[in-house]
């Protein structure tokens, strides 16, 4: 308990930030017309590919002969990059049909 | 005060109906009803109830202090009426210019309902409006009945029927009602008139207004139309000709107070109309808007049926009587105060309609 409170006091700003981000996440979506559900899901999915940054950092800091880490890390990069590029591209294709007329 | 209600001669309406009398019991008066006066309008003598006594015409002419009717009593009748009796009817002094002299000679006092000024205040007594409204409605029904074609558009297994085109000439009270009724039935309606306000009024009913530029303005004519320049009338006839040849139905209501109705549809135009087309000319009694119109007759010329009738209200006697009766009663309530005639000549309405001063 003490530890948790300690953590709370020490990371107060982080917690504010987390909570506000969550609220912001809710807010930002809360009035989306249902026609946009799928593109929005797809766009959010692309953003979740941000995890690739972790993989990049991992590889950059791994020993050049640590093939295990390098291999798995590269796998992570491949997976993450697929998610990011594919996600944004697919969202863009879906949204093409919203092009304004005239 | 004894109020006599005459039976109309050539008209199925009656000037006062039982309903009106029942609703206005506070008007202290005794009513003498000519036998069967309301019969043809659907108001049997019995319906008038006990407060009204039924008599023959002579008795009424002789005894009443005030006599009401739609059409004025004829000369023979007048001879029987005692002096100073008050007559309320449609004397139409604009057309029968000597009528007031004749009445004055007999020392009768007469109020002509068609002379009530057409102010907002007087609308409750404005029989011209209420009757014109009936006429406009009936004119369309009559046209629809005579037209060998449908009014509305119909896409059916037996072919597509295009909607009838209806042209309304003159957008006064009758014209507007005709527009509304024709639109209801699904026709394509266009109308025109020379008054400036008419455009807005026509469009306020969702119909199309046909503009002919250069109409003379009518400000100050109290809502009535004024004479138009010769050149304008020509262009107008040109336009009417164009429209008429394309129309299935023409409802003509254009009138100018106290003058002959303007001729808007010439012979040649009629000859070019589609066979079977119908013209209803409500201005027939003052000469008609259509050159071939014959008053009180239904004729066929060049395959076009031309109905000349300015008294279509008569063809819907029940409601027409009821409206007339309400108008009349509103007038009587102005005229009669506590059972006494109140000849208040300061009152615009009374003064305007009093034709035997």
């Amino acid at each position: 308990m003490e530890a948790i409170l300690q953590f709370f006091d020490n990371n107060l700003l982080l917690i504010y930030l987390l909570l506000f981000t969550i609220i912001l996440g809710f807010e930002v979506i809360s009035k989306v017309p249902s026609v946009l559900h799928t593109p929005l899901m797809s766009g959010a999915n692309a953003i979740s590919g941000v995890v690739i940054i972790g993989a990049i950092i991992l590889i950059r800091q791994a020993a050049p002969d640590d093939y295990w880490t390098l291999g798995l890390g590269t796998l992570g990069v491949v997976l993450g990059m697929t998610n990011v590029v594919g996600g944004f591209a697919v969202t863009d294709r879906m949204l093409e049909m919203f092009k304004k007329k005239k | 005060m004894k109020i006599g209600i005459l039976k109309e001669d050539q008209d199925r309406r009656v000037s006062l109906t039982p309903d009106t009398l029942a609703k206005n019991a506070q008007l202290v008066a005794q009513y003498l009803l000519e036998k069967d006066a309301g019969q043809s309008a659907g108001y049997a003598d019995a319906a008038y109830g006990d407060t009204v006594s039924v008599h023959d015409r002579a008795t009424i002419l002789r005894e009443a202090d005030l006599i009401v009717s739609i059409h004025p009593p004829n000369e023979a009748d007048l001879a029987q009426i005692k002096p100073q009796t008050v007559l309320v009817s449609l004397f139409q002094p604009y057309f029968d210019q000597e009528v007031s002299d004749r009445l004055r000679q007999r020392t009768l006092r007469a109020f002509s309902l068609d002379m009530i000024p057409r102010t907002t205040l007087a609308q409750a007594m404005d029989v011209l409006s209420s009757m014109a409204s009936v006429s406009g409605y009936q004119a369309v029904l009559m046209a629809a009945n005579h037209l060998p074609r449908y009014f509305p558009m119909m896409i059916t297994a037996a072919g597509s029927i295009r909607p009838a085109k209806v042209l309304v000439l003159g957008a006064g009270v009758a014209g507007l009602q005709a527009i509304a009724t024709a639109k209801r039935l699904g026709a394509m309606v266009e109308a025109f008139d020379v008054r400036k306000a008419a455009k807005e009024e026509v469009e306020s009913l969702g119909a199309k207004f046909v503009e002919v530029a250069g109409a003379r303005d009518d400000a100050g004519a109290g809502g009535y139309a004024v004479d138009q320049s010769e050149e304008f009338l020509q262009r107008q006839q040109q336009e009417v000709q164009n429209r008429a040849t394309k129309s299935d139905v023409i409802i003509a209501t254009a009138q100018i107070r106290g003058r002959k109705a303007p001729i808007l549809v010439r012979k040649e135009s009629i000859a070019q109309m589609k066979p079977g087309s119908v013209i209803v000319d409500l201005a027939a009694s003052t000469g008609g808007n259509c050159e071939l119109t014959e008053d009180q007759k239904i004729i066929e010329r060049h395959g076009v049926t031309i109905i000349g009738n300015s008294n279509l209200a008569e063809t819907m006697p029940q409601d027409a009587s009821s409206l007339f009766s309400n108008n009349l009663m509103n007038f009587l309530r102005l005229l009669i105060v506590e059972g006494e005639l109140q000849l208040d000549l300061d009152n615009e309405i009374i003064a305007g309609s009093y034709i035997t001063p």
Binding site: V50, G76, T82, V90 | T156
Partner: protein
């Protein structure tokens, strides 16, 4: 200085994510929103690449190869995928994101258990969390993909009492995580591997009982899971953009899931639990015998209508029954205001009396000029983007032309299938006056929008207004 640059890039990236998502939720700005978020992601990735970590070996070759490979796969599949297969695609991408988190977490755990890195309990918990959420999201997404793609039939993966199996998995996972937390590094990497396998299986099992039709909701849910695992990974690396981006996706994904359920008139619990019991969802409304008519959602229909150039309404008896004449006119007005050319094709025997449609449309004030009769309409269908059949049936039945055995063979009909798309509004698959089935409903170009015509039109009006 350089750190500030990195921080600034991350801050910028995080802001683009927020603003991008915001813009994604309005049709006018959605596309630019997506681009913005992509831009932010690019900035963040580049910044991560160039920031000079002290003493880092960098291994750029590995990274670049991985990125090129992943980028190519992602790009290529995004371009190839059919418009109708979008949800599957999203699902598989999402699964990959989850897998990435799994890889990161496993590497972390392995080095932890190998004693190469130390983690306090809190940090260990977060790594385990990233692992487990990522794993569930990974296999769950794969199965969702399989179901949507038609590779996996609901019944193939649904076991009797599946809800109990899932509850068991849940408890087992919690138990194992607690156990690992208590044990610390002493237990060795086997613990992490067991947890990974357990949660991978769990993800699969989690999705198994949920009906195919509910997959979009599940994908959205799994998507928010992936976001959370990314956020957890962000905490591990002390990286704000991963944290913020992940949390954002987690939150918005959750709310989006709820919204999607609402749009289906169901609760999230109902989707998840209902699936547990139901095992496969209700049969489609559009099924008649072997044939199944494809449905369209109101929002898809609304988009199609709104962004088309020409729309032809084909009213029938159902329009009259639903008394939907004013609604059709309102939709007409909305579309016309957006520059769509709207007309009405009136079949001579539509309705139940000659001129039935004329009466109704006149009541709604549709100008006569917009009404086309059979021949005029048939000439125009080929140039019409969308035909909306509102409660008509017999009058648009192709059997009249191509089925000599049909009782209506020889009757002229409105050849709506000549248009680019057809949407049929009716309540069910039942027949019309003539009592015969209509092959139009199963036509490739046709989509059904089931429901009372007035309600459907009003729903479309609402959707179009929200565009």
């Amino acid at each position: 200085m350089l750190t500030s640059f990195l921080n600034l890039s991350y801050l910028l990236g995080a802001l683009t994510f927020v603003i991008g998502l915001r813009r994604l939720s309005s049709p006018d700005t959605a596309r630019r929103g997506n681009g913005l978020a992509a831009l932010g992601m690019g900035i963040a990735i580049i910044a991560t690449m160039v920031y000079p970590f002290t003493d880092a070996p960098n291994n750029y070759l590995w990274i670049v190869v991985g990125m090129l490979l992943g980028g190519a796969i992602g790009w290529w599949s995004a371009q190839k995928v059919q418009m109708t297969a979008m949800p599957q695609m999203v699902s598989i991408f999402n699964g990959l994101g989850g897998a990435c988190a799994v890889v990161l977490a496993m590497l972390e755990l392995l080095s932890f258990y190998a004693g190469e890195r130390s983690l306090d309990t809190g940090a260990l918990f977060i790594v385990l969390l990233a692992l487990l959420i990522g794993a569930v999201s990974f296999t769950g997404s794969l199965l969702a993909f399989g179901k949507l793609q038609g590779l996996v039939k609901d019944k193939h993966v649904y076991l009797p009492g599946h809800q109990w199996i899932n509850i068991f998995f849940l408890i087992a996972t919690i138990g194992l995580v607690t156990f690992l937390l208590v044990q610390g590094s002493s237990i060795g990497s086997i613990g992490a591997i067991v947890l990974m396998i357990l949660t991978l299986v769990y993800g699969f099992s989690f999705v198994a009982p949920i009906g195919g039709a509910d997959m979009p909701v599940v994908i959205s849910l799994l998507n928010s899971f992936t976001g959370l695992s990314a956020a957890a990974a962000g905490l591990i690396y002390g990286n704000q953009i991963m944290l913020v981006g992940g949390i954002l996706v987690g939150a918005s994904g959750t709310i989006l899931t709820v919204l999607m359920c609402q749009a289906m008139n169901r609760s999230l619990l109902n989707v998840l639990i209902g699936g547990f019991g139901g095992g496969g969802g209700a049969p489609s409304k559009g099924a008649v015998g072997d044939q199944v008519a494809k449905e369209v959602t109101r929002n898809d229909a609304a988009i199609q209508l709104f962004y088309s150039n020409s729309v032809m309404f084909v009213p029938g008896y159902g329009l009259a029954v639903a008394q939907a004449q004013k609604a059709i006119k309102e939709l007409d007005d909305l579309l016309s205001a957006n520059g769509v050319e709207v007309r009405y094709a009136i079949h001579p025997v539509a309705g139940r009396m000659p001129g039935h449609m004329n009466v109704l449309l006149a009541e709604a004030d549709v100008p006569y000029a917009q009404l086309l009769d059979l021949d005029e309409a048939n000439d125009l269908f080929a140039n019409t983007d969308i035909v909306v059949v509102v409660g008509a049936n017999d009058v648009v039945n192709p059997a009249a032309l191509d089925d000599p055995g049909s009782p209506i063979y020889g009757m002229p009909v409105l050849q709506v299938w000549e248009a680019k798309n057809v949407i049929v509004l009716k309540r069910s698959m039942s027949t019309g006056y003539a009592g015969i089935q209509n092959q139009l409903f199963f036509h490739d170009k046709n989509r059904m929008l089931f429901g009372d015509a007035k309600k459907s039109l009003q729903a479309l009006i609402g959707e179009v207004k929200s565009l």
